[in-house]
């Protein structure tokens, strides 16, 4: 048992900067309240004057798949065929990549990580904790979302090999063709799946889960690609988010009308391609004002995971409210990746992933002081400790 006493709580679901206690039992949050009794053998952390938040969540990154020190670790894009829904991010996850330790030091306790955007359908994202003795103990959900991509990346990646897709028309056609096939397969499987002679199709078997409610993450930057994503998702009745959503703020009414859930980012960085021409930190403020549900993502390594709070601060600088910015890094990211039953907020019954900050996390000088995952203290900043992030390499 662990009791965090007298912290300034930001639970992300109601309590914003009120003093309170959090009781942790068996890796879960069991109670939140004031003056909770200290039972025998209960470890107590005095959080008076400190800010207590849930562990931060990154809803879209490539940590553990993209490698840090060698091209031998690059497992993000299987660009040998544009539609490979049978692939699983978890199968390439280097769960002990040192980047996870950096994430912990910066208060990120859950990441949703998976394949890149070279393929129209790239495979599934996995949700994992950033600390734990092995992969099994870290997994929140082995396969949480199917990754799809529109826009420049697939058409350039395959176009330069003189293969389809070369155009946005083909991007959409390949996505639709796969979805038609998967819908048909799904229907047949529901009827005849028990038949030992049922013609099993590895990739369709994975993709058909969309018709049982598995979420899709659709990579789209430009307004036209976002609208293609909305159109196709509506046609097939998909549960989905638009990831990156760079120009979403330019068509915010469309987003609101269609109840599109968005994951914004990475936004720190240059306009390295045409579809990023309108990249702007104003997007956060505009989506908030329009009532769109959205989260903020690093797409690490593109914004390094230690830059997650910096990126959010720059959104706040452009008018996003602090309270919403913090939700965007926690509960919203959890909701949009279907892991909110376990993480993303401080509520009884949820995983005890907690960060204790010396100052508010969005302040310039903020640093995570104590990080707790599943009730275990996995990081505690020591006075005078080295400030090097990648020391373990």
């Amino acid at each position: 048992m662990l009791l965090i006493k007298n912290g300034t709580l930001i639970t992300m679901t109601g309590i914003y900067k009120q003093t309170g206690d959090i009781l942790i039992e068996n890796g879960k949050i069991s109670r939140i309240g004031n003056d909770l009794p200290v039972s025998e053998g209960c470890k107590v952390i005095d959080a008076a004057g400190k800010v207590v938040t849930p562990g931060l969540v990154d809803a879209h990154c490539h940590i553990g798949l993209w490698g840090t020190v060698s091209s031998a670790e690059m497992d993000g894009n299987e660009y040998t065929s544009p539609a490979l829904p049978g692939l699983r991010g978890i199968d390439a996850l280097k769960w002990n990549d040192p980047t996870f330790n950096v994430a912990v030091r910066h208060g990120v306790t859950t990441v949703v990580t998976g394949p890149g955007s070279a393929n129209i359908i790239g495979g599934t994202f996995t949700a994992v904790k950033t600390a734990g003795k092995d992969l099994d103990s870290r997994v929140v959900k082995q396969e949480t979302c199917m990754k799809m991509a529109l826009g420049e990346n697939p058409k350039f990646c395959f176009g330069k090999q003189n293969k389809a897709p070369k155009t946005r028309m083909m991007n959409a056609a390949i996505m639709r063709e796969q979805l038609f096939k998967a819908a048909e397969y799904h229907e047949k499987y529901k009827k005849h799946g028990d038949d030992p002679e049922f013609p099993y199709d590895f990739h369709m078997h994975s993709l058909m889960r969309l018709f049982d409610g598995m979420r899709v993450k659709i990579h789209a930057h430009q307004a036209d690609d976002i609208q293609t994503a909305i159109r196709i998702a509506n046609e097939f009745g998909l549960r989905y988010s638009v990831d990156h959503c760079t120009e979403g703020y330019l068509i915010v009414d469309e987003l609101a009308k269609n109840h599109v859930q968005c994951l914004l980012g990475p936004t720190v960085g240059g306009k390295s391609k045409m579809e990023l021409s309108h990249r702007s930190f104003d997007a956060g403020r505009i989506l908030e004002e329009a009532g769109v549900t959205f989260g903020l993502i690093t797409d690490a390594p593109f914004v390094p995971i230690e830059g997650q709070l910096l990126q959010a601060a720059l959104y706040v600088k452009s008018g996003l409210s602090r309270e919403m910015a913090l939700k965007c890094l926690s509960i919203n990211n959890a909701i949009i990746t279907d892991i909110d039953s376990r993480v993303g907020s401080l509520e009884p019954g949820k995983d005890a992933d907690v960060v204790i900050w010396d100052v508010e996390p969005l302040d310039t000088m903020a640093q995570a002081g104590i990080v707790i995952i599943d009730g275990q203290v996995v990081y505690e900043r020591k006075a005078g400790e080295s400030n090097v992030d990648y020391q373990e390499l």
Binding site: T68, G270, K271, S272, F302, K317, T364
Partner: protein
């Protein structure tokens, strides 16, 4: 005459957070005083800084501003002529597009001077140009058309030529640079001899060597090296040939500060924030405090667009968060950057006689939430938030 009154001035030359008025005339700083209006009269243009922080415009000592443009991949990317690893005859100035959005980003980040370089794909990439960051044409922007050569000892070069030609290894990278320098030195000797004594013929014109020989007249060389063994190779080659050099990027400099100190290396560090890969594995803003503790003066660079130039102050803030003193942080982006580029007679600090390149900040410069509110170049307002 322009008066900027009520500054909380950090001039990078002795005045640190003092209430002062700045006076500029004909694009230069004329005076720094306590009450400019009673001294010079009230009829001049006056900007009230309202007690905000005022610093010199930042100097970006190593970037590809205008050379590798925003948004356009092929059309706007002129940084890397990947057809030959030794190209000293190229000039970054010939590729700068003043209408690139990068210039607006520079101004919004308080950067008023930038050294635009070729990319890191060649061993000798060409020459770098020093420019101001506001102007419609290159001739309006340019301060020094050919400020320094750029040489690179990085994996980028090996990757660029892999399977096509040498270099494939660090051995060849060093050998090809040495070979070029030896040829240029011989060419330089023959050229000088012919200049001094008409009885000698000049060497047969060679554009590469004709350009590169200038390093033997003291023209500076920027040597990009990230990993510590590449840094030591850079030092070795530079000392062998007596080059006037600075070490650029210097990602792993914080792992070997004693080497840098022993060899009096001038380091232009950065970007210290961004994507990790093999070469950048030790990329960390800790570099600032480690170099400061070891009393190694350094300049800070974003390497734009590697790290965006509008994040110049954010990079300093990240270094400050990891223990670098605020004064050293600001020096890295102003006076040290100017000195290491040989531009300190004109920019890098606010002193009488120097260019009136001034930033009025809307908060403490080393804070995520602060911005450059008003930026002046040579006494003219070129950006307002």
């Amino acid at each position: 005459m322009l008066i900027i009154r009520n500054c909380n001035l950090i001039n990078m030359a002795g005045i640190y957070e003092e209430k002062k008025d700045l006076v500029a005339e004909n694009g230069k700083i004329l005076d720094i005083c306590d009450d400019a209006e009673s001294k010079y009269g009230k009829e001049h243009t006056v900007i009230d800084a309202c007690g905000c922080y005022v610093t010199p415009g930042f100097v970006e000592p190593h970037c590809q501003l205008g050379v590798r443009e925003q948004i356009y991949r092929f059309e706007g990317d002129d940084a890397d002529e990947t057809t030959d690893p030794i190209l000293p005859q190229l000039r970054a100035l010939d590729a700068i597009n003043p209408s690139d959005e990068g210039f607006q980003m520079a101004l919004s980040g308080g950067v008023t001077t930038a050294v635009a370089c070729p990319g890191n794909a060649n061993l000798i990439g060409g020459t770098c140009a020093a420019v101001k960051t506001a102007g419609k044409t290159v001739s309006e922007l340019v301060m020094v058309p050919e400020l320094a050569f750029l040489m690179c000892l990085t994996d980028t070069v090996k990757n660029t030529y892999e399977g096509k030609r040498s270099p494939k290894t660090r051995l060849a990278s060093a050998a090809l640079i040495r070979e070029a320098l030896i040829k240029a030195k011989n060419y330089h000797t023959l050229w000088k001899r012919a200049q001094e004594d008409p009885k000698y013929e000049p060497p047969k014109f060679d554009m590469k060597l004709h350009s590169l020989m200038r390093v033997f007249d003291g023209m500076p060389v920027k040597i990009t090296a990230k990993r510590s063994h590449d840094i030591t190779t850079a030092i070795r080659i530079a000392e062998e040939f007596g080059l006037n050099y600075t070490l650029e990027d210097a990602t792993e400099s914080w792992l070997i500060p004693e080497v840098l100190k022993k060899h009096n290396v001038k380091c232009v560090v950065g970007p210290s924030y961004g994507e990790k890969n093999n070469e950048n594995r030790y990329r960390d803003p800790i570099v600032g405090s480690v170099l400061e503790q070891n009393e190694i003066p350094f300049a800070a660079s974003t390497g734009h667009p590697d790290m965006n130039i509008d994040l110049a102050a954010i990079q300093l803030t990240l270094m400050y968060k990891k223990g670098l003193s605020p004064k050293a942080a600001l020096e890295a982006a102003t006076i040290n950057a100017a000195r290491f580029c040989g531009l300190e007679q004109r920019v890098g600090s606010l002193e009488p006689g120097k260019d009136a390149d001034i930033v009025i900040w809307d908060g403490y410069p080393l804070d995520y939430y602060s911005s450059a509110a008003t930026v002046l170049i040579e006494g003219k307002v070129v950006y307002q938030k």
